[in-house]
């Protein structure tokens, strides 16, 4: 089960409000390489992972990704909080406002709703961990695009933290993959 801590994993501030940027950074809330996809991918895969290191890694990284989902949600919320409709209507955020008001909704930067088709979960552990390694790289690249398009030092600070986490997760999944190969060498049926 999960228990909420009434803290963020890392501070999420915005220096100034920016509805246009909200409609871009939202892709890490509900886009193909976003934090919701990351979390649900890992906590779906953990059940059939054959080695203890792999189960724990998927559980804890899946948990951390949900905390990142909250950090991105905080940025989107702060970027548009209290901005009147007649201002929002002239921004990229207008379609979001038409469908959701200022509430957060897991969608990508084009407005496409989150879908489980973004993720895969295989009983074959190598197939799953390879998917996870790719997912971490895609998330890292997305953070770099988003950082390149911001000039708000507070947002850049938070996105840089999240980018760095993807690098660490990639490292940990790489170690799980090595452990999986050792495990498979020990069991001929896998070889």
């Amino acid at each position: 089960m999960w228990e909420y801590k009434k803290i963020l994993e890392y501070p999420a501030n915005v220096r100034r409000q920016d509805p246009d940027y909200a409609s871009l950074v939202v892709t890490q809330f509900g886009g193909p390489d976003g934090e919701l996809a990351a979390s649900l991918r890992y906590i779906s895969q953990m059940y059939t992972m054959p080695i203890p290191e792999g189960k724990a890694t998927l559980n804890n990284i899946g948990t951390e990704e949900l905390a990142h989902f909250e950090i991105i949600g905080t940025l989107v919320y702060k970027l548009v909080e209290g901005i009147p409709a007649d201002v929002l209507k002239n921004t990229r955020f207008a379609p979001h406002y038409a469908q959701h008001g200022r509430a957060n909704y897991p969608a990508d930067a084009f407005g496409n709703a989150w879908t489980a088709s973004y993720i895969q979960s295989h009983e074959d552990p190598v197939a799953s961990i390879q998917e996870d390694l790719a997912a971490e790289q895609k998330a890292r690249a997305t953070y770099e695009y988003l950082i390149d398009m911001s000039d708000d030092p507070a947002i850049i600070d938070t996105l840089s933290f999240l980018r760095e986490r993807e690098v660490v997760h990639f490292q940990r999944f790489g170690e799980v993959l090595d452990l999986l190969y050792d495990y498979m060498d020990d069991y001929e049926e896998w070889g």
């Binding site: 909420y4 803290i7 994993e9 804890n60 905080t74």
Partner: protein, 91 residues
Amino acid sequence: MDRNRRPGSPVNVEMLREIMQLNFAMIETVLFLNTHPTCRPVLDLHNEFASRFNKLVERYQERYGPIYASYENAEYPWMWIEEPWPWEIKY
């Protein structure tokens, strides 16, 4: 953005940030230990971070209200619902 706190719902951002730092340090030791379960130095580091985190959270909860809904010395009235929530704080 009005970040003024209602009376009776204090928040100590400096102390919260310290809690967040220790929480993050633990996230790192946990992930590392998951793939290096026999690494004694990081295990010791983990225990030290966990101990400091738990002590600081306990002090925070006594003074400013619960970090966990399961806080055992909850005061009347129920403080868990007090704002600000983590997304409402200027850090």
